[in-house]
Amino acid sequence: MTSRAAVKPWNDPAILILPALAFLLLGFFVPIVWFLVAALREIGGVSEIAGQIAATLSSRAVTSALITTNWIALLVTLLTLVIGYPIAYYLTVGDRFRFTLVLFCIIVPYFTSVIVRTYSWMVLLGRTGIINQMLIGSGLIDQPLPLLYNKFGILIGMTYVLLPYMILTLYAAMKAIDPSYMRAAQALGASPLYAFRNVYFPLSRHGVVSGALIVFILAIGFFITPALMGGPSDVMIAMLIERSVEILLDWPGAAIMSLVLLAMTMVLYAIYYRVTDVERMMGS
């Protein structure tokens, strides 16, 4: 061991954490706090700010956006879970070839730009989109179905964008489940369904919770997909924030709504932090 006197700061690599902390402080934390504080101070003193916050939160536009946001995020979380669970399970049991093939089908959309993924569903779902072209061409319907610019469109688009996060998180948890438990249960006479419900699913619950949390967190802050695929009445909170800056130039309003969205996100992230290993985020 080196003597104490010889220990220069650089001898401990932990010191190398400082550039990143400084970088994020300057480029991320300071701008957010600055924006929130400066925009709120435009309102006036503490009592005026409190009054304005109460007024904003009880306004119809904000309450309805908050309800829409949570409702859509909840549905998207459930959809990704139901669709993704069997796929993640398949990844753990398939042979190497099947594993690679299925993983490829997950990874390609995962790393494709969100705007491109949203656009591809607009091409499919639009009034004159490919699905309506095919349905009308085959004589199944005469009038195009309203698949885009409504909640249905948002749900399809967001589920598609967030599905890979769910699958990869579930897979990371399922990979750790010892297959001999399921074999033991079945050897002892459990039906496959019983063994799944009472042995496998409880063991995978950790992945279900992590996956649901990360998808919900990302969904409540979603902007691009709902802005392009939703209708006039499907306004999510992130869209309202963007509009109040871009169109209304209402910085205090944007700050109050950002504060609410940020608080929701941070509470959920704190839970995520407690239940999972953050290093495994995004199923890396």
């Binding site: 990143a20 480029g27 600055w34 924006f35 669709i83 069997p86 902007f223 992130a238 940020l262």
Partner: protein, 267 residues
Amino acid sequence: MERSIPAWLTTYVVFACIGLLAPIVIVCVVSFGGEGYVRFPPSDYSLKWFNAFFGDSRWRQSLVSSTLIALIATVIATGIGFITAYALVRGEMRARKLILSLLLMPIIVPTVITAIAMYFLTAKMGLVGNMLWIGFCHAVVALPVVLLILLSALQGVDVNLERAALSLGASRTRVFFKVVVPIALPGVLSAALFAFLASFDELVISLFLAGARAQTLPVRIWNSLHLEIEPVVAAAATFLIGITGIVLLVDGGVRRLRARAGSQDRG
């Protein structure tokens, strides 16, 4: 050991995989269509939408902006990300998990909030449309991506190699540049590729910070989508998909090299 996979599960996964890839494949096919509107399958194929894409100076300009911004973001995010990952893997710190969770926050905080907060300061400093600054801001959201990749890459580096070099009298700095960097190089390359992709594909921050001068490719696509779904957007989208494809392909090659180097070490 192999477990029997029920037929319904295989069938389901096949359909799910088709559902996952189909939208992307269809956009690519549509972009090669010869009609004046989006149609699938196209009745004839042509390159006219790619000609329209590369022939339009505004699309070309957005391509240049995107590339420059992504290069700046890549250098910053990979540089900082590498030393940070090294600190997290080799350093001794009590609040490691807490620090990591702070470093990952840019992908957790809704991008709209980050973008507006950055815009608030950027406008005050008169930096709207400044590509160097946009690259810096993109690096903030690319850093978590880089970090997650490098953490898993560096965990695969044998600490004994560094200990050996240190015990033979090499300084920490020398060990870092002569041992750690060369071994971790493939991981750094992967991280750089995905940092580039993260910035190249980024939309929300660019939407606020780009102004009229530095419109990136995703911003141009966003603006055209508000007008109509013109097929030239399909060509732009196909171009972005192509970039993703190249990144994944090169990354796959890098990973294979890394795996081969690893097996040679052991063999």
